[in-house]
Point group: C2
Chain length 380, copies 2
């Protein structure tokens, strides 16, 4: 693997993001990272443990993925930073030379690990694997993410559950701001990595405003909206996203974390979101649920036993070009590894290309038409 | 996929196999099937359920596989012949356009299913999946294999366990001969499929002779040796193979079924065997055991945690060209699907190319040198 010459196109905050076209509130943008320019809106497949589950890097490129996620919490525990550092970072370790965004590890500490104690200093937690104790501080999170070689790095934030009362949310906000400042201070600015701030505030619009104001004051090259799709009603999620997106400066990329269904992506991109990640296409693929232009199907359904047609007649992915629903059902019912592969290729292709198609529509000023056609397809 | 025009290069028994070179008793041959010519000695990866576990057809081609196996018993039960027939056979169903060899189903009926009753008519058994009752006769076996569209079809034989007493083996022999004749009678000779007879006889050289004589009388375009590597000592296996191989006509391909380790393949090809199949490279890959020119390694071993080198420095497979032992170990310890894929690619590449390299050596009259070098590598 060749080393990427990271300094040649070093980016600074001012020229990180540009809007190339708009259609209503939807935007088509370009996000510059040290490992290449990303067209937005973009869907970023989740590569939890240094692999987007079931796929090779070549397959990720073939489905059109331009940037992937790595999970700091998981990689810190397995294989451990010392191993990844031997390879100069995650890119060489996993053989992916495109941009990587890592999360802060906070979400998993709050949701997957056993959280022992949270203080201003950081979060003390026990590993979900072996119960070992670890302390995650803002500085530690940045250090890990930089040792992973991430191109986009997320600030450590305190996540709150839903529903959460106002005091709890406000307290988490203040801590998130403080941690955000410490993350920025801890960043090696020579690395060329972009550090994104995360807006919290639960389902309180005024607290989202407060969070946004605080983070804008610190000034980040990009902003994420956290704490959505955590159990709240869909309409509340959309209205909270809409309000928060409007609070963020239009010359910065806006990333909605951990969301969502294809409908969510179309809706939220329409409201001005630029970046998305979600385990849904990969996880659901492994559960036999496949996304199509006419809605989702479950490949285990007996109706597919003798179905010669592909998953989606309109899809150009490797799976749809070469295999029938009947074959995919057979593989899935037999728990063959190839089932998870072919299903994942299809679902990730669907998500990635949904955003590519939406971007084209935005560039042509046709977002509304795109959205109508998308919904008409689902209602077939 | 386009339909293969099977009649254009229709083969008949007389020109099925030719010996292109020899080195001692080792042979380099060409085996003509209706879907292409196969260079022998050849290793045939096992595709039990219409997929060589974890791999796509493209990957099989990339590792050099020229012919794969399908398991009649498994495919008959799942997805069922009616499904495969909708696609005109296994090739289009699974998207593999090279030759396919199917077994008779007998081995699984005797080893995996619950055998209810065996008579001259056939074997009554209960499915290992749902306990349903089925009758496998010679005619049924041929009918299933032809509906699967196999290019090489195996006669139904009666397998005996090891150790087995002489009477038991002899009885099975007679039945195998009778079933062989019925298989030949049941074959659609216009199909272009090649029907191979199977020599049994346990560990009794004179019964192997008797079996060979009976099958030679029936006359098949190729012969397999069954009932080896069933628990007998290695030296007994080699001597039984050597004796039986010598009984078979040199103008017919000689296939040793279900064997074995890389050492076994090198040894048996040296004794004149042309074709091999075994689940070892695929199954062991999924258990973390990888074959190298210096012997086997287990990728889960802690010594590989920080190992930057590939599995095998001398290997040109996709896995070795792109990934370290450390990454493979990490994937394997995390039970990532990509672990099984990358391990399988390596092991199948190793087996397939071991036979390709051996063939080259035979063509140059250097089998003994090849064998010495092979063993010297293992003893490093």
């Amino acid at each position: 693997m060749s080393n990427v010459s990271l300094n040649d196109d070093k980016v600074n905050d001012a020229n990180v993001f540009s809007v190339e076209g708009t259609s209503g509130t939807a935007r088509a943008g370009l996000l510059k990272t040290r490992r290449g320019v990303i067209e937005t809106p973009v869907f970023m497949p989740v590569g939890t443990l240094g692999t987007v589950k079931a796929l090779t890097p070549e397959e990720l490129k073939e489905v059109g993925a331009t940037i992937i996620l790595g999970n700091t919490y998981h990689l810190y525990l397995r294989p451990g930073c010392d191993v990844v550092e031997l390879f100069g970072g995650l890119h060489d370790f996993m053989n992916w030379d495109g941009p990587i965004l890592t999360d802060s590890g906070g979400f998993q500490v709050f949701s997957l690990a056993k959280l022992t104690k949270i203080t201003e200093e950081g979060a003390l937690f026990q590993s979900h694997l072996d119960g070992s104790s670890h302390m995650l501080t803002p500085e530690k999170s940045i250090q890990i993410q930089q040792s992973l070689g991430a191109d986009i790095i997320m600030c450590l934030d305190e996540c709150v559950e839903y529903p959460a009362d106002r005091n709890r949310v406000e307290q988490a906000l203040d801590r998130t701001r403080l941690w955000g400042d410490r993350c920025k201070a801890a960043l090696d600015t020579d690395s060329g990595s972009l550090l994104f701030g995360i807006i919290q505030g639960g389902m309180y619009a005024d607290l989202r405003r407060k969070s946004a104001d605080m983070l804008l004051e610190t000034d980040f090259p990009g902003y994420a909206i956290g704490g959505l799709s955590v159990g709240e009603p869909k309409e509340l999620m959309y209205s909270m996203a809409e309000a928060t997106l409007a609070m963020l400066p239009d010359d910065r990329p806006k990333y909605i974390m951990g969301v969502g269904t294809p409908e969510d992506l179309v809706e939220l991109a329409g409201l001005g979101a630029d970046m998305f990640d979600c385990v849904m296409p990969t996880r659901n693929a492994r559960n036999g649920q496949l996304f199509t232009h006419a809605g989702t199907i479950n490949i285990s359904n007996a109706v597919h036993r003798t179905a010669k047609e592909p998953v989606d007649e309109k899809c150009e992915c490797y799976t749809c070009r070469n295999y029938s629903r009947a074959y995919l059902r057979h593989l899935y019912m037999s728990r063959e590894i190839l089932a998870y592969r072919l299903n994942t290729i299809h679902n990730v292709y669907y998500y990635v290309n949904l955003m590519k198609d939406l971007r084209k529509a935005v560039m042509q000023g046709r977002y509304s038409e795109f959205r109508s056609n998308f919904h008409a397809g689902l209602e077939q």
